[in-house]
């Protein structure tokens, strides 16, 4: 590898091959990315914590292993940005919240442990909406992340930090978590690839829960193959997570290499498009559907009649589970404690003061909403009814997958909006996840990949691919086929169109 090569521009697959082949050391790769972070993160603010020492130590270990002739795993020496909602032993983990400021967990999440075991070099922790509640990272207690395509715009959320880190070449890979679209929507607005695996495919142990029945960690990358390599590294049964699926992980890497849609039936979801979707988003999506037909797929329209109720069901189920999951943040065992010196307050008062000071307004709104929805007298009308709607949405998916191999839709109704634009209008913000939420409710997998720039604003547009539970490999097969065809059409990766920072 020549010295003129910018190591930060390589894909994860290329980086791993270069490290394994001895063309470059893992330490050089890590240092190049740390330098890039130093150069651009002041403007992007993708990271909440950069672990220079830990990253270089991990890279050194990979180099030593290679020197000793040990077999390297497929991502050994590849740098990665970890969403700050996953625990990493001894490294600050805040979930974007003031209430966890300074907390260093005494244990690794299973995802973290698998990354470490695979020789992946964890550069640091990425910014996010507080407790993953949001679609813009503006709800982070530590300031918003900026979209590398336009620093005045949102990078999506909640995993805007992870997506922006990948889009701005601070890391070739990142881990995101997706409860209602927090991997896929940021991928869409930053021109990157993001995958929410099937619920239960990736362990949630050490993932600070937002909504336990919806949360799923997954890969963020610049290419479909890179995402597949990361998916294969983190997925698999974990006895520490009761909701983890004890089934073999589909061969997503092979699927990404296959990239062949001939003979597949692809359903365009009627309810996810049309009104409320930006013209340029619709245009790029329609073009891509046409492209799929050209590649040999059979494209049909399918209806999922209950999808219009997904957002409402989601904003009952999520706050209900979240209000309970976030109860443990009370200033007693970890995190900050507020208001103990004022008089001789009771434990009840200190908990109340700590939580009032430690949570931002969106977290407070959702906790109150969930508390309300679970209350005696409202449970059946709200939480109970939302869970029934959830069943209907899962049935819509099942019916659609009876006739289609995968479903597609735009990932988000618009391209990246301006920072501050929707901050005071919670409902408008919630609507940005309208197309991604159904997959979380059903537990099925989804991928977003870039399909071009909207003509009206020159910003990236994402397409969502959805597959049945445990058929995550189909996402990678179809995604890689689209990616290859578009690359051929464009002549270079879409991120090359982004302004240099």
């Amino acid at each position: 590898m020549g010295t003129s090569t910018d190591l930060t521009r390589l894909t994860a697959a290329e980086t791993a091959a270069a490290v394994a082949g001895g063309e470059v050391s893992a330490v050089e790769v890590a240092q190049a990315h740390l330098d890039r972070i130093t150069a651009v993160d002041g403007r992007v603010h993708a990271f909440l914590h950069v672990d220079t020492e830990g990253a270089l130590a991990a890279a050194t270990a990979v180099d030593s292993a290679r020197a000793s002739g040990a077999a390297l795993s497929p991502l050994a020496g590849v740098p990665l940005a970890l969403k700050d909602v996953l625990t990493q032993r001894g490294i600050p983990t805040t979930c974007g919240s003031r209430i966890l400021e300074g907390w260093r967990p005494p244990y690794d999440a299973t995802v973290t442990a698998r990354l470490k075991a695979a020789g992946v070099v964890i550069l640091g922790k990425t910014n996010m909406d507080e407790f993953a509640m949001g679609s813009s990272t503006e709800h982070s207690a530590y300031g918003a992340t900026h979209n590398p395509w336009d620093l005045e715009r949102i990078p999506g959320g909640s995993g805007g930090g992870s997506a922006a880190a990948v889009a701005s070449y601070e890391a070739p890979l990142a881990i995101g978590t997706d409860t209602g679209g927090s991997i896929r929507q940021p991928a869409a607005v930053t021109g990157t690839v993001g995958v929410k695996p099937t619920y239960g495919a990736v362990s949630r142990y050490g993932l600070v829960a937002l909504a336990s029945s919806l949360d799923q960690a997954g890969p963020c990358a610049r290419t479909v193959l890179d995402a597949a390599l990361l998916h294969a590294t983190i997925a698999g049964h974990d006895p520490l997570d009761s909701t983890s699926a004890d089934v073999p992980v589909p061969d997503v890497v092979a699927a990404a290499l296959r990239a062949d849609v001939r003979g597949l039936r692809i359903g365009v979801v009627k309810e996810l498009g049309g009104e409320g979707y930006q013209a340029g988003v619709r245009q790029r999506f329609d073009e891509t559907v046409e492209l799929l037909t050209g590649l040999g797929a059979e494209v049909v329209e399918v209806s999922c009649p209950n999808f219009p109720y997904a957002l409402a069901a989601y904003y009952l189920i999520l706050p209900s589970e979240a209000s309970s999951n976030i109860a443990k943040f009370d200033g007693m065992r970890f995190g900050i404690r507020v208001g103990e010196d004022d008089g001789s307050p009771s434990v009840e008062q200190v908990m109340g003061r700590t939580r009032a000071a430690g949570f931002g307004p969106e977290v407070i709104r959702r906790i109150m909403l969930g508390t309300y929805a679970l209350s005696a007298g409202y449970y059946d009308a709200y939480y109970g009814q939302a869970q029934k709607v959830r069943t209907l949405i899962a049935r819509d998916f099942a019916a659609a997958f009876d006739t289609c191999d995968v479903l597609v839709s735009p990932t988000a109704p618009t391209t990246a909006f301006k920072l501050g634009e929707k901050l005071d209008d919670p409902l408008a913000m919630y609507l940005h996840d309208i197309a991604t939420i159904p997959a979380n409710l059903a537990g099925t997998p989804g991928m977003s990949l870039p399909i071009g720039l909207a003509p009206e604003d020159g910003l990236p547009v994402g397409m969502q691919i959805m597959a049945p539970a445990m058929a995550d490999d189909r996402l990678y097969n179809v995604g890689a086929a689209v990616e290859a065809a578009l690359l051929e059409r464009w002549g270079r990766p879409i991120l090359e169109e982004a302004p240099s920072l």
Binding site: P106, A312, F334, M368, L369, Y372
Partner: protein, 101 residues
């Protein structure tokens, strides 16, 4: 829900108490307003006829996930207390507890 109950300032105060969040009194009206709008939107779920539809609490149909009754290593006392705001005599120190026993 045609007759969605509207959220009052007192409701917000009650919810805040249940959720142990010591909200400043001057924020209650604002939260009431916002929650009212959100609840109005999510009440849409009631439009779906779903009386005979089972509720879905878990996305995967797993049952009987158990662990053998075998000891695993615990944290050390120092690790357990490492994140605590206040510690005394190997225990978590918390402010005085009212009312209950």
């Amino acid at each position: 829900m045609a007759d969605t109950p509207s959220i009052t300032r007192d409701d917000v105060a009650h919810l805040a108490r249940l959720a142990r969040i010591d909200l400043p009194p001057d924020s209650l009206d604002h939260y009431a307003e916002q929650l009212d709008v959100i609840l109005g939107a999510v009440a849409q779920v009631s439009e779906v006829a779903a009386d005979d539809v089972p509720a879905m609490s878990h996305p995967l149909p797993l049952v009987n996930v158990f662990r053998a009754d075998v000891v695993r290593p615990s944290l050390s006392n120092a690790e357990a207390l490492s994140g605590a705001p206040s510690v005394e005599s190997e225990r978590f120190r918390v402010p005085r507890i009212l009312d209950e026993e």
